[in-house]
């Protein structure tokens, strides 16, 4: 329990899903918990209204590419990643976007919540690529269950999520907490047409409620998973923050942590944070959990330098900030000859995982093919008007394209490369005088091989759907899946945290989030991060 000389039993840096899970768990056990969040609290209805009032309504990546911004606030002390906050270096632009608000980036995630499959943990030993995890699927299975219950995952039991159309995979000891949503007309039609070509349809497990789940209503198919679920049917991290606060945790918003301090014995002694007025504050605790997103967590460790820790905190291995990964992908737009009606139901559900696992992984990366279920009407219409279409011709084109244009995308498994990394800028600083993150990113021929193989699949899909290919984008699309920057390993010389997510260098500090993933698979990483966070909470409950 809290000793008088400590401000808290546990300080959690970052109020997203990862920090929220740990904070709620510890607060429920009666521990004194303080959560520090750089950004402000937001109200759902205000975000919804800002989005509604915005003239441009696009998916996350497009919104950023076109400078449309985000309905979430951008404040001088916590600038939005949609603006010019992030700096990019290297051959590939790591054009990501995450949210600096209470509840974190899951506010705008599509809510895919996949488990990895057992082979994903053994990439090096099975296929000679990337890195193995120090733990395996069996070590995480029970925590996947608990994370699925915590986040409220909707899924289809008995599916082969390795994409081979076989028996249940990965093995599960618990059914999904909620039954899968009904498939829309488009998903059903596509699944039928592609099965002829050997594409095994898989329905994505996700965080949208299919029955009332706690306070969450049933997903109504608003098709608005990002930037914000207007009815709170989709999970986001604010829900665990709310639970933590109800159990006594204290949340300090607009509190930007800029320094972590360690003593001579290696233990973390305090964190320093700044308020928007640039005032500096210090807090200490028995334990610390860093859960500030793969980019901010790495940056914070790297700027926490001192004479004893010249490379920053938790960085004796020099791996902090390195091995930055993302499911860097490609996409293709196509026009079918019959109406498909994208836009009914949630923004994503149907995926193809034929290339999720196999001996090919020594030659090209594992990948996931998805069809986006977003509404293309506004974007299409803008194009038609630019072309000079008017009146009934315009109407006819809108009708045709809104019903028939499909967007397909592929996410590839990246390799951890030491040169791909997050560093604090030496030249650019935010309003508090803190360096902004610089992201260096590149891909290898392994990714290129995947791109070529993936394009073959997309063309085959166009053929099977009898669709005309409208455009193809192979320019390293960012998927906003940050991984690798504080990686896990048994050897303190080449990893940042151990198999329990405890930093090798500081026995009372853990890192929660997808940044600990040594390899990435090709699947959305949130649930894996959440399972690891539940596991961290268990460890903390034994020690505090």
């Amino acid at each position: 329990m809290a000793n008088d000389s400590y401000d808290a039993d546990l300080i959690v840096i970052g109020s997203g899903v990862m920090g929220g899970l740990v904070a709620a768990s510890l607060a429920k056990a009666g521990k004194k918990v303080i959560i520090l969040e750089a950004g402000p609290r937001v109200d759902r209805r205000e975000i919804v209204e800002t989005f509604r009032n915005a003239p441009v309504k696009l998916s996350l990546a497009n919104a950023k590419l076109q400078g449309a911004g985000s309905p979430f606030p951008s404040l001088p002390h916590a600038p939005s990643t949609y603006g010019d906050y992030l700096q990019y270096e290297g051959p590939v632009k790591y054009n990501t976007s995450y949210l600096r608000v209470v509840g974190g980036t899951t506010w705008h995630f599509g809510s895919a919540l996949w488990r990895m499959i057992p082979n994903d943990f053994k990439l090096q030993s099975l296929y000679g690529r990337g890195r193995d995890w120090p733990i395996g699927y069996d070590d995480l299975e029970a925590y996947y269950n608990r994370a699925e219950l915590e986040l409220g995952v909707t899924g289809l039991d008995g599916q082969d999520e390795s994409g081979q159309g076989g028996g249940p995979m990965p093995p599960r000891s618990m059914p999904f907490p909620m039954e899968q949503l009904n498939s829309s007309y488009m998903f059903k039609t596509i699944a039928e047409k592609l099965s002829v070509g050997g594409f095994n349809p898989v329905l994505e497990p996700h965080g949208r409620a299919s029955r009332p789940y706690g306070r969450r209503p049933v997903c109504a198919g608003n098709n608005n998973c990002n930037p914000v679920c207007p009815i709170g049917a989709k999970y986001d991290g604010s829900m665990h923050i709310d639970e933590a606060e109800r159990h006594g945790a204290k949340l300090l918003d607009n509190s930007v942590v800029y320094k972590i301090e360690a003593g001579d014995d290696g233990k973390i002694t305090a964190v320093w944070y700044k308020r928007p007025d640039n005032s500096e504050h210090k807090l200490n605790a028995r334990y610390f959990v860093l859960a500030a997103y793969g980019i901010e967590s790495a940056k914070l460790l790297l700027i926490s330098t001192s004479s004893k820790y010249p490379n920053g905190i938790a960085n004796s291995s020099d791996q902090v900030g390195r091995n930055l990964m993302d499911h860097t992908g490609i996409s293709m737009n196509m026009l079918t000859k019959e109406d498909m009606w994208p836009g009914e139901g949630p923004t994503e559900l149907l995926v193809y995982l034929n290339q999720r696992d196999g001996a090919f992984r020594k030659d090209y990366p594992s990948y996931k093919i998805k069809v986006r279920n977003t509404v293309p009407t506004a974007q299409m219409t803008e194009g038609f008007i630019k072309k000079g279409l008017l009146g009934s011709k315009l109407d006819a084109e809108i009708r045709k394209y809104s019903a028939r244009s499909l967007n397909w995308a592929i996410d590839f498994e990246p390799l951890p490369l030491p040169e791909n990394r997050v560093t604090p800028s030496k030249t650019k600083f935010d309003a508090l005088g803190l360096p902004v993150p610089v992201l260096y990113y590149s891909v290898t021929d392994y990714w290129n091989a995947g791109r070529d193989r993936g394009l073959e699949d997309l063309n085959k899909i166009a053929q099977l759907l009898d669709a005309e290919v409208l455009s193809t984008d192979v320019k390293w699309q960012n998927r906003q899946h940050v991984m690798g920057t504080t990686r896990m390993g048994d050897d303190p010389k080449d990893s940042v945290v151990d198999r329990d997510c405890r930093t090798h260098d500081h026995s009372n500090m853990f890192i929660a989030g997808t940044s600990v993933m040594p390899s990435a698979s090709c699947m959305n990483p949130t649930l894996t991060g959440a399972a690891l966070s539940v596991r961290i909470a268990d460890t903390l409950l034994r020690e505090i």
Binding site: E46, V48, N53, P217, V218, S238, I241, D242, E245
Partner: protein, 490 residues
């Protein structure tokens, strides 16, 4: 939160029971006598096949909606109690009525059971609070009591789990006061069929008055919280919720509903263009009404059609207000700082996603016009729905509206002012524009609704009693002293 249902026992008041007035004692003795009669009747019925009796009891228990209060929400064991019923006098916890010998009614004879259900007195003599609708159940026939007893004894799984003790504040903590209350307000008469009416009507009357206990919520209560039978079914309050007038009155009641609409409402809790069941009525539909046979539901409709019309203050039927609103186009994008606009902004951000910007709803969500919650002459159900949400599962399909009150996540929680503003926007655009809501109304609903006289008077009852006692003592002292003085010279 159905406010009224439950058995209650509290050993702490047993001592008080011995201080009964002789009148109360004779009432209790009378009840004992009545119960022994019941026992005789049951003995005769024992010849009926037991399985049929139990099946009948199962249906009756459902029609009487025992489970709604006697099963704790979110995974409570069936009939093991523990549901906190919000009464205006404090939270009353329902008891374990499984046949557990330790914590339930395992040791109850049928006579004990009958006395508890119909007279509100537990086996050990403690009085039940009228959260248990024994004034309605008093009308249950002996044969139905037998069937219920057979069901509870033989089919309900015993659960050895004590339910939470009810601890109402003084003076309501004195359960013996219920003896006096029962003397005044409890009729020990069984249901008497009306020979002048159809069999269907009589069945409906029995269902409504004895089993479904409609009057428990829908009949207004007097100063002592007893039902005011002169204006039966003309509307009452149930904690924060308002139970509307359901008499046959064309304007204030259900006189303007078709038979088919009434039947659908009882069966599903929803009729588009009329009303939807929330709060305790949603629980009743979920646990009880949807499971009734069509014949019984039709009988209920026949009965409701034939009740004495009682007019309330409504000028037009509650469901007849409003139309789609076009204000979206003129208000969209405005700054939202002006007081009148806040209601629109809350509506647009928190309500319009489901109920649609023009308020007309869709196949899954009710319209906000032609809706009794927005057309009523008091805003309690509108405010309650916003604060507490709605949850009703019919035919296995949940109907759910999230709460925007204290249970909501901080990201969705609305202040009293926000609820008042959005209520006023909704009332002015879609409902009864004459009704206005202030933050103080929202605060009142948040705190459990309109307080009855007894609850308001509670803090003064003890001091008044003390003052009266002191005056009495002084008076007695004076009389005695005078007497002594008079005696002294002798």
């Amino acid at each position: 939160m159905p406010p009224y249902c439950g058995f209650f026992e509290s050993p702490s008041v047993k001592a008080v029971l011995f201080r009964y007035s002789s009148t109360a004692r004779s009432v209790v003795i009378g009840l004992f006598a009545a119960c022994s009669l019941v026992g005789t009747v049951c003995a005769q019925d024992a010849s009926r096949p037991q399985a049929e009796l139990i099946a009948r009891g199962r249906y009756l228990a459902m029609a009487a909606d025992c489970a709604a209060c006697h099963t704790a929400p979110e995974g409570g064991q069936p009939y093991a109690g523990g549901y906190g019923i919000q009464s205006p006098l404090g939270t009353i916890f329902s008891t374990n009525i499984t046949p557990s010998k330790v914590n339930g009614i395992g040791e109850y004879t049928e006579a004990d059971f009958a006395r508890a259900v119909r007279a509100g007195v537990a086996k050990d003599g403690t009085h039940l609070y009228p959260a248990m609708p024994f004034t309605a159940y008093a009308k249950l026939s002996d044969t139905d009591i037998s069937a219920l007893y057979a069901f509870f004894k033989n089919e309900v799984k015993p659960v050895d789990q004590a339910s939470r003790k009810t601890e109402l504040p003084f003076p309501f903590s004195i359960r013996a006061s219920m003896a006096v209350w029962n003397m005044l307000f409890l009729s020990n008469e069984r249901f008497q069929p009306d020979a002048a009416r159809s069999a269907d009507w009589n069945r409906g009357a029995y269902l409504a008055e004895a089993l479904e206990h409609c009057s428990t919520c829908h009949t207004p209560r007097n100063l002592f919280m007893a039902e005011d039978t002169r204006s039966a079914l003309s509307g009452g309050t149930v904690g924060p919720w308002s139970a509307p007038n359901i008499t046959s009155d064309k304007t204030s009641g259900i006189g303007g509903w078709s038979d088919a609409e009434l039947l659908q409402y009882l069966r599903t809790g929803h009729v588009a263009g009329k009303a939807q069941a929330a709060g305790p009525m949603a629980e009743d539909v979920e646990h009880s009404l949807q499971h009734l046979t069509d014949a019984d539901l039709r009988a209920l409709v026949t009965y409701l059609r034939g009740t004495k019309p009682v007019a309330s203050s409504d000028k037009q039927p509650r469901y007849s207000f409003g139309k789609p609103s076009a204000s979206e186009a003129s208000l969209r994008g405005l700054p939202g700082q002006a007081p009148a606009e806040n209601g629109f902004h809350v509506f647009s951000g928190a309500c319009a996603n489901c109920h649609q910007a023009d308020g007309s709803g869709n196949a899954h969500y009710p319209s906000l016009f032609n809706n009794t919650a927005t057309g009523a002459d008091n805003p309690d159900n509108l405010i309650s729905t916003i604060l507490f949400g709605l949850n009703r599962t019919v035919d296995g399909v949940p109907v759910f509206m999230p709460a925007f009150g204290p249970d909501a996540s901080f990201t969705d929680r609305l202040s009293d002012k926000d609820v008042a503003d959005v209520s006023n926007y909704v009332l002015s655009q879609f409902g009864n524009a004459a009704v206005k809501v202030g933050p103080e109304d929202v605060a009142r609903v948040r705190e459990g609704g309109r307080k009855p006289f007894l609850a308001l008077a509670a803090p003064y009852i003890a001091p008044i009693a003390v003052v009266v006692a002191v005056i009495l003592l002084v008076f007695i002292g004076l009389v005695v002293a005078r007497g002594r003085r008079r005696v002294a010279p002798a």
